[in-house]
Symmetry: C2
Subunit: 402 residues, 2 copies
């Protein structure tokens, strides 16, 4: 009797969850020994599922299931093998393992070839980059990226040369329009599905993200001897900005704005804050709305600073466009979702995923699975076996219908 | 020809400003060598002015000018000799030197004896206490205070025993109602006089001060994947509290409320703050209003926390009552102020002074002098020679009329 692909997938998740560079917690980073073992392990599972495997020197693993139509472009599936430090076992790994289980569950060979990719780096822990593995399959990394140093000063280029998986390595690159798309399953990393009581949904777009550093400069005065009208309190100004950002975000869902970090100077309880510095993280699935709100926020903050006699400095440190999911591919995924779970829920992803990098090649689509309390990047990260089975069923149906 | 007392005072300020434990900046702390030299120097000036001097083992210096009325209680004048680290030369020292110049300017001996006190500690730098020197003249320090350790672990009692000025020391203590009051001149340490364009004013009361630590606990969620309605953002709650505190203070002058310190956790730009902790410094010259506002603030904050689904913790860490100035003594000072400067301005002191400790003995009154940009506790602290002369004239007139 054939082993049950879902049971196998759950066991594989446990196995991958124990392949770690640190015996006391889960951590696999770009080119680390554990990341290589994880790729080899996944490669062996791919071969057992009848796929032909290859790997890139940077540690990305690929399995190819031939299609019955020799002219069809391949469909790409995948997610990442690397983790954050002290990670959970679902983020990344589940996407690869669930896709493999779906391939194993197919009643007959697909028309399109299926390429399953286990990317060597999405989290960017070692080099503070993102999508290093998935970006690499869309074309060679540029010289600036390759020169990025890790904490020890070793560049990405040197790391690949000295630590890469060179034996039997091949180049895994795709040209734009050479595939019929990329589909990724991932845990939601949020609480929307849990609140809705639904196991899965499709993703409408991966939100664009702007990051801003804001500084307000007032006057550090004595807390006892400075009457309120004479104050130029930088923290008061920051508080007004924080509430303004909150109000703007609440008024236009799915916009989210977060002030996650703040520091003030001098920071003594008996001293009026002379300066405040805080961060803005603004995400929206629509590029036009993101830019609109970014401009609106800057104008509101400038007005608050002027009104309070504060110096104002706005520094845009990152502004990534959104990656919309492909309507046709997403419709097919939605049909599979509906037939398995009865829901047609769709939502934007506020977190980045390998699909962002893959969107350079062609259409993308994503399936989100419910995770407990929205928790991720934490050892308590959890998706239930039932929800994982649901996710595999949806992917299987999607592949079978393609 | 007699030297001009005002010119002499200005020169003495420069001399005291160079008596420091650190050659690169002004610092004199409780029982430090420089604090002892400063007391000896002031003692010599007192003697030159015809005063009989004595000193306490803790370093407080006193000069006594006999009065013509043998039954009259003494009038106390004074301020502190110690400084903060990297101090200006006016805070404390000016009060002693100006009083001495006023005594020297008296056209004839006063009816009351005048006791001029140079306290060994007001700033509390070494032991994180306040008014150590001035409290000591109102009675022996209690055992708990005497056991307070400095950074090296040495207690106040040990420090006085091992480092005190024991040669020729006497006990300088006053019983309650044994004096006719205490009068102190001090720089304002705020910008009210500068804004008003006036050189001096009297003090109506030294404000009571409450210090509170506030904690708000929410949930540290992912900045990208948590829609606004699902957030329990502790910093959003803190921002609402900060603006509420500001509004309450602005609505009831001379109330002042300051949030001078804030920290949030986890404090990453892509993470919704799960907890926020900030300080409240609330001062008002009226005890009833201070307590009223403290209660109102706690209630408002609790409501904000409830509305936002945040845990709320309010910890009162200090609550000192106000020290009202004596109406009769203050009227006499006001008359002197008006006759010299034409103003009858009075304001509460938001900063603490030795007069708070002396209020235990009897009536107190204070004269504030304008200081540039309200700056104090800083090497750029500055009061103009003209304003210092005005202060000395006011004190002289006050003493002459007593």
């Amino acid at each position: 009797m054939m082993p049950d692909p879902i049971q196998t997938a759950l066991e594989r998740l446990e196995i991958l969850g124990r392949i770690s560079d640190d015996p006391s917690r889960l951590v696999r980073t770009f080119l680390s020994p554990a990341n290589r073992v994880a790729a080899e392990t996944v490669g062996a599972w791919m071969e057992a599922a009848g796929m032909e495997t290859s790997h890139a020197a940077d540690g990305t693993i690929r399995g190819i299931l031939p299609g019955t139509d020799p002219t069809a472009k391949p469909l790409l599936l995948g997610s990442h093998l690397d983790t954050v430090i002290d990670a959970g076992k679902y983020d990344g790994a589940l996407g690869i393992i669930a896709a493999l289980a779906a391939i194993e569950s197919l009643p007959e060979p697909p028309a399109h070839p299926i390429h399953l990719l286990g990317f060597s780096d999405e989290e960017g822990v070692r080099f503070h980059t993102t999508y290093l593995g998935s970006r690499s399959v869309t074309g060679p990394l540029d010289a600036e990226t390759l020169a990025t140093p890790d904490a020890s000063g070793r560049s990405i280029a040197e790391a690949i040369e000295k630590e890469g998986w060179h034996e039997g390595a091949t180049t895994i690159h795709y040209e734009p329009r050479s595939t019929c798309g990329y589909v990724e399953l991932h845990i939601e990393q949020g609480r929307v599905l849990e609140e809705a009581g639904e196991p899965a949904c499709v993703v409408s777009a991966i939100s664009g993200q702007a990051r801003v550093t804001v500084s307000l400069d007032g006057l550090a005065d004595h807390a006892g001897t400075t009457p309120m009208p004479l104050r130029r309190d930088a923290l008061g100004g920051a508080a007004a900005c924080i509430l303004e950002a909150e109000a703007i975000a609440c008024a236009d869902p799915p916009l989210v704005i977060t002030v996650g970090s703040i520091s003030i100077h001098p920071g003594a309880s008996n001293c009026i804050p002379g300066s405040a510095r805080f961060t803005i993280d603004l995400r929206h699935p629509g590029d036009e709305r993101r830019l609109h709100h970014l401009t609106a926020l800057e104008e509101k903050f400038a007005a608050i600073a002027t009104e309070r006699g504060l110096g104002f400095h706005w520094k845009l440190v990152q502004d990534d466009p959104s990656a919309p999911c492909d309507p046709a591919l997403t419709d097919a995924l939605l049909e599979a979702l509906e037939s398995v779970s009865g829901s047609r829920r769709s939502m934007p992803s506020g977190a980045g995923h390998d699909a962002v990098a893959l969107s350079k090649l062609g259409p993308i689509a994503m399936l989100f699975l419910r995770c407990r309390e929205g928790l991720s990047h934490h050892p308590d990260e959890f998706a239930s076996p039932e929800d994982i089975a649901t996710g595999i069923h949806i992917l299987t149906r999607f592949l079978a219908r393609l």
